[in-house]
Amino acid sequence: MSTQKITLAKGLNMGLRKAMEDDPKVLVMGEDVGKLGGVFRITDGLQKDFGEDRVIDSPLAESGIVGTAVGMALRGYRPVVEIQFDGFVYPAYDQIVCQVAKMHYRSKGRSKMPMVIRIPFGGGIGAVEHHSESPEAQFAHTPGLKVVACSNPVDGYWMIQQAIASDDPVIFLEPKRQYHADKAELDESATPEPLFRSRTVRQGTDVTVLAYGPTVKTALQAAEAASGEGKSLEVIDLRTLSPLDMGPVLDSVRRTGRVVVTHEAHVNLGMGSELASRIQEECFYSLEAPVLRVGGFDTPYPASRIEEDFLPDLDRVLDAVDRTLAY
């Protein structure tokens, strides 16, 4: 197969289509996923080709969407649920943490829950309240769920298929501000990396920068900028948030001795706190400086005109890099 240049939105769309072609049990469900193709057009064209029974426009009720998806999964289907925006996942929170996450455990493995819950997450698109949230830590704290975040078009294509193929429920986070941003070359004949693996996206020797979803790009930009000043940053795209793939992280930290974690979620009890905890536990003697965290501040997501101040950016990442290097 020849390669093509695609956006993240396109990669996800193609990945969904592929999964639906490969397995008739795969269903897509959510608000406006049918004719409209979702507000971000990620499911564009799927209902036309797979019909209303496989691409299901739902009533406006997130608990209902996830709860009925549980039932469909129990019947042997593999539902892929779209939550329209991050901030609207909360009405379904009970079904996710008490039912989706626990069904396999409760049933001693007799009832599988092969469900994917797709959530466009993060900010930076100038949206109104509730449209720019980063709820990943809350799900990662819940045993029974797996949580991943893609950061680029090629990962979008492969990871969505892998998540659908997983027999465990996967919270699938998509950095919405990347949907229609950068394009990348997709080779459909390639062999993807496993889903629950982190990836070192830039080698470096001075500081390890951990990122996922939307902040991978920020981290890479920071690394580029830092290299101009003679600082060598290693950037890891975590990709999987639960489970964490600590192998590459610890390897890197043992080499650099310095870590900056960056995400859009609030710093307090965000993924950065878990990463910092594990790193100091595992690499205590390798650390030259404390693990520093650069995230959304511990305020509600602000009005969009100042969202870029709320969100971690190149400068704040570099500031943390400088601080860690100054130790």
């Binding site: 029974d53 209902g64 709860g67 009970d94 092969p114 797996k146 997983s166 639960s242």
Partner: protein
């Protein structure tokens, strides 16, 4: 400073309150005195042998309940959710099912579980604290008990949507067409999830029967706190039929549930069945209903006992003799023995079991945690050795 609310229940006057006798809309085919009644819409289509079978079912179900209650009192169970008084509702509903139908229970559906062939011993596990559900839901198409109020009604609706997608609705093949039954209580009817289940079921015309045992109480809260009008009418606002059946009448419950399930299997969509009954016991063995309800009410409902009326019918019409009743009693005793002995013999889980089945595919970090705990536990064994 004691006072009552000043906001009068004027709606109850308009729409009529929920009545102790169920009101005129109640479908009843067997009176508390054991007399058969006809109903223009619902007929009981089985013979007297079947009624004898229902009698047996109810006696055995009650025995499961009293035995488990006793086991709790003796410290063998942490808690038990009693069904006393709700036997007819559960047997009537349970016996109306076909093998291919699927049941989503609450935590109190012991009688339905029995009808599905789940060993009652398996019900004890979660109340004893040895597991969260011992049976395989796929063995008997009987889901695990659900404790979060109302959550299972959405699962039921989704499962029914799956049945539709499997083409197992409205084909006319009696062995293929399937329905789902979702059990829940009167209190549950206030949960958002339950109302969303109504919406999804109506929207997709899903083959699901919403079977509500209105036992008049949600722990200490009377049905009037949840609704000012008869509960079965809730369904009408969502666009599907609701029926109030005498939940202490096993014949009527059977007939109504059967019709509702058939409607679902035929592709005619959801039905709401309100089985009008009464929770004769406490909410659970840890509850103390004397704090919130009158013993008078309980006395009133004793006269409507679901088992007594079938016994009266069978006796009065010479359909069963002492030998029959004695045999059922013997069976109940045997069942009691099975439960008592079986319960005590239920193996305790091992500490390491807590790590089993968290995921279909165990992540490395959990494996490390598991192995770490195993090693930690071994240090104790060593130190005790």
């Amino acid at each position: 400073m004691t006072h009552q609310s000043e906001f009068g229940p004027d709606l109850a006057e308009v729409f009529g309150p929920s009545q102790q006798d169920g009101g005129p809309e109640l479908v009843q085919l067997l009176t508390p005195e054991g007399e058969r009644r006809e109903h223009p819409e619902f007929a009981f289509d089985l013979d007297d042998e079947a009624i004898k079978g229902f009698y047996r079912d109810m006696v055995l179900t009650r025995r499961i309940d009293t035995e488990a209650t006793a086991l709790q009192r003796h410290g063998e169970l942490g808690i038990w959710a009693q069904l006393l008084g709700q036997e007819a509702a559960q047997i009537g509903a349970g016996r109306a099912l076909r093998p291919q139908d699927y049941v989503f229970p609450t935590y109190r559906e012991h009688g339905v579980a029995y009808c599905r062939g789940v060993d009652p011993l398996n019900l004890l596990g979660l109340f004893r604290g040895v597991d969260h559900g011992a049976w395989n839901p796929n063995d008997n198409n009987f889901g695990l008990y659900t404790i979060v109020i109302g959550a299972q009604t959405l699962h039921a609706t989704g499962y029914a949507m799956g049945i539709q997608r499997d083409g197992a609705v409205g084909t006319g093949d009696p062995d293929r067409d399937a329905a789902v039954i979702a059990h829940f209580g009167d209190g549950a009817s206030s949960q958002g999830d339950v109302n969303e289940a109504f919406i999804f079921a109506a929207s997709y015309n899903a083959p699901v029967v919403f079977f509500c045992q209105n036992n008049q109480w949600a722990i200490s809260e009377p049905i009037e706190r949840q609704t000012r009008i008869p509960l079965y009418q809730r369904a009408l606002g969502f666009g599907f039929p609701g029926v109030r059946v005498d939940g202490n009448d096993v014949l009527a419950t059977y007939a109504v549930t059967k019709a509702a399930l058939q409607r679902a299997r035929d592709g005619q969509g959801p039905t709401f069945v309100e089985a009008y009954t009464y929770r004769m016991g406490a909410h659970t063995t840890t509850d103390d209903p004397t704090r919130y309800r009158l013993s008078d009410d309980v006395e009133h409902w004793k006269l409507k006992d679901p088992i007594a009326r079938v016994k009266a019918y069978l006796t009065r019409n010479g359909l069963a003799d002492d030998a029959f009743f004695g045999a059922v009693e013997d069976e109940a005793n045997e069942l009691g023995h099975h439960l008592r002995e079986g319960c005590k013999a239920l193996p305790d889980p091992k500490p390491m079991d807590m790590f089993a089945h968290v995921y279909a595919e165990e992540p490395e970090e959990l494996r490390i945690q598991r192995e770490g705990f195993a090693a930690y536990l071994e240090t104790f064994e060593e130190s005790h050795a």
